[in-house]
């Protein structure tokens, strides 16, 4: 077995940069886990035994107790502005907690300035892959804490190649030129005048799961699968713009270019542009977040995340691909043959159980609702099956409607845990009939010749979570 042989290689067999990256991300995840566990233990609450997504996970519990004490003695000072923000988790404000909220008036209406924030008791955050620079880096969505199918805008995973530019929409424009009848320049106001569409779509980084090719490496589903998020995107069909400028015969590719320090570029087949590509300016009902491309992003439903060019400033229509750095030296999939697959755009069908998942702990035997996400770049998820015996037998999971094409689909499966060791898996099938493969099947097809991370991109194999007799859940490989 090539995979068994490959596993004998230790990290020492790889170059320093690769070793540092592996060790760095294990440490980064461990730090995130430790802060959650520390918070749970300090609380001495019912949830001490685990299942941390439902328990308080903040690391600054002391300040919360101080608030409680202060409120009890009536010595509360109203914290506002930056002081309250500084004490609160990201995205929250710290407010006094009333001992009995039915006996005192609550905080003042619209005193938050007119834009709400999440509860100070909710603390899930993205964490960053420890790349050498913080400008070219990525962060993972906390899928283990997620509900439903939509990713909160502030928790959407990120991948930046030159930091996050801060762009004034009043001065931003999109230029469309090349093999067109009339090159055109659009302001944001111009773009928003066109008939618009809103669609729910996932974006997944093709590097999602890159640590897991050879062996279980990261511990949590945030680490193994956190580079996928779902959003309701609103914008203009790219086909509308193509019709406006008039595409000439022979046009086959479009260069999309961002207005960031990487001047990020990808070549996109023009068929995709005619099909379902969008120029989006809104996410989840409001303007794009800066880290998601504000004010304008190219959306290519089902294509690997890096092609959804953010901070979009230019589209150039051409007869050939441009062979930019991101589609030659990066985002190509090196096989054992020494050849690399190029323009591997499609994100194939994939699913993962998010509850229970790595580093959670089931307190006792009994009923649990297994839950997770399935998605496919080729369309609609038709079914999801769950196995609680490591793939020996499979049962249909229930799909939460609406089930939308190229969108996270929530599945649920009732499970009575008998308290014995179990291995939980999910596998999905999309509308083309494609069934999510095992990691072994992918390794057999592509080899691990790409190095420590195999062919790096496009790992969509079945994820296995082992539940130990003590209820602890861990990342394993089981074929």
């Amino acid at each position: 077995m090539s995979s068994k042989k490959a596993k004998k290689l230790s990290n020492q067999d790889y170059d320093e940069a690769t070793r540092n990256q592996i060790e760095g991300m294990i440490k980064a995840e461990a730090k995130a886990i430790a802060s959650r566990k520390g918070a749970v233990e300090a609380e001495e609450c019912e949830c001490k035994d685990g299942m941390f997504p439902s328990g308080p996970v903040r690391s600054d519990v002391t300040s919360r107790r101080q608030f409680l004490a202060a409120t009890a003695t009536g010595a509360t000072a109203l914290m506002v502005g930056s002081a309250a923000q500084a004490a609160a988790p990201p995205g929250a404000m710290d407010y006094p907690v009333q001992e009995d909220p039915t006996k005192v008036q609550g905080r003042l209406t619209n005193d938050d300035g007119g834009y709400g924030s999440r509860s100070q008791f909710e603390t899930e955050v993205r964490w960053r892959f420890p790349t050498a620079t913080k400008e070219s880096s990525w962060t993972m969505t906390p899928l283990d804490a997620g509900e439903g199918i939509v990713t909160p805008s502030g928790l959407h995973f990120e991948r930046h190649h030159g930091g996050i530019p801060n762009i004034n929409p009043a001065t931003h424009s999109l230029t469309v030129h090349g093999m067109v009848d009339g090159a055109r320049k659009y302001s944001m106001e111009d773009l928003k005048r066109f008939p618009s569409v809103s669609r729910f779509h996932f974006i997944e980084c093709s590097g999602n799961g890159l640590t897991e090719w050879r062996e279980p490496t990261l511990k949590t589903v945030q680490g193994t699968h956190g580079l996928t998020s779902t959003t309701e995107w609103t914008g203009v069909p790219l086909s509308t713009i193509l019709r406006e400028v008039g595409v000439q015969d022979g046009a086959a590719w479009i260069l999309a270019e961002g207005s960031d320090a990487a001047v990020m570029t990808r070549s996109v087949p023009i068929d995709k542009a005619w099909d379902d590509a969008m120029l989006v300016y809104a996410q989840n009902g409001e303007a794009l977040r800066p880290e998601q491309g504000y004010p304008l992003r190219l959306l290519l439903p089902g294509f690997e995340g890096n092609t959804h060019i953010k901070w979009l400033r230019r589209l150039e229509i051409s007869d050939k691909p441009f062979m930019t750095r991101e589609e030659t030296s990066k985002y190509t999939d090196l096989l054992s043959s020494g050849k690399a697959r190029q323009f591997s755009f499609t994100m194939e069908a994939k699913s993962v159980i998010t509850f229970p998942s790595g580093e959670m702990k089931l307190p006792r035997a009994g009923f649990y609702e297994i839950s997770g996400l399935a998605w496919s770049g080729r369309g609609v998820i038709k079914r999801v099956e769950v196995s609680v015996d490591g793939g020996n037998s499979w049962q249909l999971a229930e799909l939460q409607s609406p089930v939308m094409p190229v969108c996270h689909t929530r599945f649920r499966f009732p499970w009575h845990w008998d308290g014995k060791p179990a291995i939980l898996q999910s596998r999905c099938q999309d509308e083309t009939g494609y069934v999510q493969p095992t990691i072994k099947q992918l390794v057999d097809a592509r080899g691990l010749g790409g190095g420590k991370y195999g062919s790096i991109y496009h790992l969509n194999g079945i994820q296995s979570w082992a539940v130990a007799a003590d209820g602890g859940v861990s990342n394993v490989h089981k074929y």
Binding site: V176, P195, M323
Partner: protein, 193 residues
């Protein structure tokens, strides 16, 4: 019969007329009811300010030139701090190795560099011009980009260290891994039932 047909035709024409007059105004989320003619024509100056990409056949290459020697000076001043004196990369800075690794792609421990992996010289020029150096992206002159490209490709024993790199010579360079890329063959696992 005839009368009915006639009135039918008249009704259809009337409805079509109404549809024609309403649809462009309402728009259609799924279709196209333009032209809307929003935006303004992009002038050649507008395009020139943005149009920095370079293609493998040389389209997009600007005027100017450089060579190994001038490139060494540029590299030492602006690239070496991250990519190292031997072009081997410095992990802590994120600066990638630029040379070496030839023949490593089938070794199981591939070393992907400009020399061993990049299929086109145009990509080096394009990327250096648009995004390098990391601390001052887009700051190099076209001559400096030609020069530093000549230096990297010279160190990689791909381009003659005595030759001039310009819009004529660059597209003629054949990179060692030019034939190393294949089309996406997925789906490559079939569990169809």
């Amino acid at each position: 019969m005839y009368t009915n047909t006639k009135s039918c035709k008249a009704l259809i024409a009337l409805l079509a007329g109404i549809a024609m007059s309403i649809l462009p105004a309402l728009g259609n989320a799924q279709g196209y009811s333009g032209p809307y003619k929003f935006g303004v024509p992009a002038t050649s100056a507008d395009i020139a300010a943005l149009n920095i990409d370079v293609m493998p056949d040389g389209r997009g290459l600007p005027k100017g030139s450089g060579n190994y020697e001038t490139g060494k000076t540029v590299y030492t001043a602006k690239c070496l701090a991250c990519h190292g004196p031997d072009l081997g990369g410095i992990g802590a800075t994120g600066g990638a190795a630029l040379i070496g690794g030839r023949g490593s792609l089938t070794s199981g421990k591939p070393k992907k560099t400009v020399e061993s992996y990049w299929p086109y010289a145009s990509t080096v020029f394009d990327f250096v011009k648009r995004a390098m150096p990391f601390n001052a992206p887009g700051s190099l002159s076209d001559d400096e980009v030609y020069a530093v490209t000549a230096y990297i490709l010279g160190e990689a024993n791909i381009f003659d260290r005595k030759a001039t790199l310009d819009a004529t010579s660059l597209p003629k360079i054949k990179m060692p891994n030019a034939d190393g890329f294949i089309a996406d063959a997925r789906p490559d696992v079939f569990n169809y039932e």
